[in-house]
Amino acid sequence: MSSWTPHLPALQVVVPLMTAPLVVLMGDRRLAWAMTTAASLCALAIAIALVGEVGEQGTMVYEMGSWAPPYGIALGVDAMSALLLLVVAGASTLGLLAAATSVSTEVEHQRQPHFYAAWLLALAGLSGILVTADAFNIFVFMEISSLSAYILIAGGPDRRALPAVFKYLAMGTIGATFYLIGVGLVYMMTGTLNLADMEQRLADVGDAEPILVAAGFITVGLALKAAIFPLHAWLPNAYTYAPNVVTVFLAACATKISIYVLIRFDFFVFQANLTEHDWQFSYFLMPLAVLGILIASAVAIFESNLKRLLAWSSVAQIGYIILGASLISVTGLTASMLHMFNHSIAKGTAFLALTCLALSISRLELKNIGGIAKQMPWTMAAFVVGGLSLIGVPGTAGFISKWYLISAALEMGDLALPLVAVILIGSVMAVIYVWRVVETAYFAKGTGVVAGDTIREAPLAILLPTWIAVLLNIWFGLAPSLPVELSGNAAELLMGHLR
């Protein structure tokens, strides 16, 4: 096994990428599911091994085809990417375990092998973004993951998935093309695509106009992909009309990977070379983060479709992640990384619970779940834990990242009070929108059941992954040393690049 260790960064991408065409060849949907899940489990094992390796030896660098960088393409895994690899592979695996029960209600049987192939390509693309150290490679993997995400979302049973995914496609392509323009301009000035090499060569041309323009294009493009507040228009409908398990997978990791690229590009390449770039970065992103937290939470409070409610909550949570990063301090970045990890567990749990609900209820509207907790106690209990974690109640994973975020805000001097107030108001709003669901499910009279729905507890096969996610919420709420350590290392790595 040990001789395989140096190749793990490459295998992380190669395994799902190579399995995808094989899955298409499988005619049988059960066989296709089994292969996909096996590949995803394999990816999860590789991610766990990589976390161990990164913990031992620091950053791992892999030279593709033994071509030395900057001429060859290098892969690199550090604390930051290892943490998110865990998120991506974990979300994919839990989603797939739930898919065994759930997908057949939403995707036709003969289309399922293609559906799973697209899933694996999305997994390969997202992992590829995380392992690569090359700016253009990031673009290619971003498009692989986006294109397969469009296919997965368009697989939704509701016809409204189509306009939703078209909007996502248009906005996502504009975002990726903006990124491409930015990379092109940096390449024009430096002649390199390797991120580490870029940082060094930029020192000569730091404040040149093309570089400033490139920084703008890259930031805005990735903000579009990451659904940072005013650019989030594609997200609520895309998440709402996607097949339920796809929402679990994408809500847990897709936007966070774009935030990862944004933070990585900014800190590794630009922060060290542009004058006062840290201030510009903060002044641009902090107001957007604050607005995102407040407005998106408010919209979530008034939303009656359960999936869209959680989707708006995702927009708000992206605000917390960006807020942490925009503080530009070790604690702030730690909070940001931690929240990426913890929010994906919390939101994954909540969406998994909705996936269970969807097996009994044809329309996931608030008015249809009156008193449903009596018939589906395990499902609703899972939703409650996911909701508590979203709010940030002590004992759940969400608390840890909110705690770090507030500590980071308190370091900010004059800004401390308003920022803490925003975080607390956002959390109170989360209490309201989670409570609306919980109140209806537990205390309302069961009146609004749609004709033809027979409500019964979800089968064990889907409750199992849901409750694994629930236990992860509690586990990382009580023993958070692993994500905290990785996030801390990542934050120090990032801050080390600051001028």
């Binding site: 253009f136 469009y150 016809r159 496609l169 093309t177 390449y187």
Partner: protein, 146 residues
């Protein structure tokens, strides 16, 4: 004159903005896709332009090739990849348009929004005169359905 000499960049910018405008302003899905393709093509031109060295030739080493000037081949290779990505995006977009036409009988976003009724995302903004357009177009949409 110096600025006119950079005409390739000017063309790239004009194409970029034309495509961007079409994606944002047009309500017809095919027109949006055309805009998206233009938008991407502009970036291809930007990359191809920056690798051009005045008097440069193809990067092939000859036996007596000392002092030869080459154009940088790397951006061209990069853009080859980007073209493939662009084609895939357009193909997928067109597939979605076909599916939309099958499901809704229309590829006008106004009409689709109308059909989805109140459940459509509110932040799309309701276009003015939508009633007029729908009433004018509705018979045609029904004809196509038959």
């Amino acid at each position: 004159m110096e600025y006119l000499g950079l005409y390739n960049y000017w063309i790239a910018v004009v194409l970029l903005m034309t495509g961007f405008y079409a994606v944002i302003a047009k309500r017809n899905m095919i027109k949006k896709l055309i805009g998206l393709s233009l938008f991407q093509a502009a970036v291809f031109l930007l990359y191809i332009t920056m690798d051009k060295v005045e008097g440069g030739t193809a990067p092939i080493f000859t036996a007596d090739g000392a002092g030869q000037i080459f154009s940088n081949p790397l951006p061209q290779v990069l853009i080859l990849t980007a073209i493939v990505v662009g084609i895939s995006t357009t193909a997928l977009g067109l597939a979605i348009v076909v599916r939309t036409k099958e499901e809704y009988g229309s590829i006008e976003e106004d009409e689709i929004q109308q059909m989805d009724g109140q459940e459509t995302d509110s932040n799309e903004g309701s276009p003015k005169n939508s009633d007029f357009f729908v009433s004018a177009r509705k018979p045609r949409a029904e004809d196509r359905n038959v």
